[in-house]
Symmetry: C2
Subunit: 233 residues, 2 copies
DNA sequence: TTTTTAATTGTGAAAACAACACTTAAAAAA
DNA sequence: TTTTTTAAGTGTTGTTTTCACAATTAAAAA
């Protein structure tokens, strides 16, 4: 078959912004770039899109190659195409963000790979426009989390309400009244109370909860405002 | 300077999904594609990204070349990268959506170019994955419009509250009580009441309003839910 | 047994929202 | 000139949601 002759062909990359939560602060996963330019400097998980793979496939492949992570929450964020963003050669990058439970993958990541977790407030200087990608990802997560229950992706299967509250306070950089928070969260019908407690955080212990997956999937898209019955969208 | 040798280079395109409102229904701007494959079939406004231009620049250029439109609301939507999406040669496409006031550009568009407006409910079959792009754009607009005042981009500078209500009813495919609607809209502080009326739609005539641009920019990002004081974000 | 620490739980006041119908301006018709 | 017609404009009330606020309890540690 014919081709589109005379058109410019470009390098296309994928960069993954991986967020994790350790129970106290939000963290960002970074690696030391393995090739020139900027070899050895801190970078997001990135790589080139291959000839025969889709963007989602590329993002998943790159994430797995560089960190071992598989089957995590991954969502396309934005495509960055400034002609000068990579000084070596023009490269357009499709960014994705991932949300993972740090504990679940901690040993795996640090043992087999050279990725490291950084507190979001203490990230090193990043290559190219990666800092901007991170900022955009943070904004997107806040935006989405304000209306959809995505932050559960950052928690273990079993979690306590105080843990959940800490996470929300962390993401939104605010404090929330715990009576109101638990009322609100429980009112969603998304949580199932378990019989056992987490004794790590306090003497009394806090009850574990897990997601009601049925309700989770059903209500994931619901939100509200400006429009009378927006839940029917 | 060196290049990234051995990496695959791809065609990168931009496709613009242009929405307009004629006072009654939402419309979509389409053109007949001017080259193979699918020459002569209905398509979004698309073109290849050039070597020296950013994605935003490409989107604006292509929109101008194909429709004459300039300075309109344009926002990046999503990047589509299925390897098979263009049967001729692999092309990754960055989609953008635009919101414009049909009246303002009507003569210009239909006179100089071959673009045509279609009612959203009566769009012809589109090439490649353009139908999916349109669906995604509609979702995004609903989503965003439910929380941010973007729909004003579809109206003339001077508009009436009944016109605004029709637009919202149209986008959300619902009916809204006009007493509640006007209360809500006026409560935002976004509108300035003008002295003259639009006599076209009724005998009595409806007062014109215009945006308070100060408040419009200031409040554009505000929204609410799940979090106690989300307006402080 | 006492102390310490964090988890758990309820109420009332204020604000936001949803449901609902009549009056009025002004052109058109009689 | 009067009457009719049409869509614009406007308020109230009951309900729901949101916010502010503090005492009690379980359980380990002292």
């Amino acid at each position: 078959m014919l081709k589109y002759s005379k058109q410019t062909r470009l390098l296309l990359a994928v960069d993954c912004i991986v967020f994790g939560f350790d129970g106290e602060v939000l963290k960002l996963l970074l690696i030391k770039r393995g090739f020139q330019p900027e070899k050895g400097n801190w970078s997001l998980m990135g790589g080139f899109v291959q000839a025969d793979e889709s963007l989602d496939q590329a993002a998943n492949r790159i994430l797995k190659q560089l960190t071992g992570l598989e089957g995590v929450y991954l969502e396309q964020l934005n495509t960055f195409g400034d002609p000068q963003r990579d000084p070596m050669e023009r490269t357009v990058s499709v960014s994705y963000f991932a949300l993972i439970d740090i504990q679940k993958y901690e040993t795996q990541i640090s043992a087999d790979y050279h990725a490291e977790w950084f507190q979001l407030k203490r990230t090193p200087k990043l290559i190219f426009d990666h800092q901007e990608m991170v900022e955009q990802a943070r904004k997107r997560i806040r935006y989405k989390a304000a209306m959809h229950p995505i932050l559960f992706e950052l928690l273990p299967t079993k979690f306590t309400i105080p843990q959940l509250q800490t996470l929300y306070e962390c993401v939104f950089n605010t404090t929330i009244d715990k009576r109101n928070f638990s009322k609100r969260v429980l009112a969603t019908g998304l949580l199932i109370k378990l019989a056992d407690k987490d004794k790590a955080g306090s003497k009394r212990g806090a009850y574990y909860y897990q997601l009601n997956m049925q309700n989770y999937y059903a209500k994931f898209q619901a939100f509200m405002n400006f429009i009378p019955n927006p839940d029917s969208l």
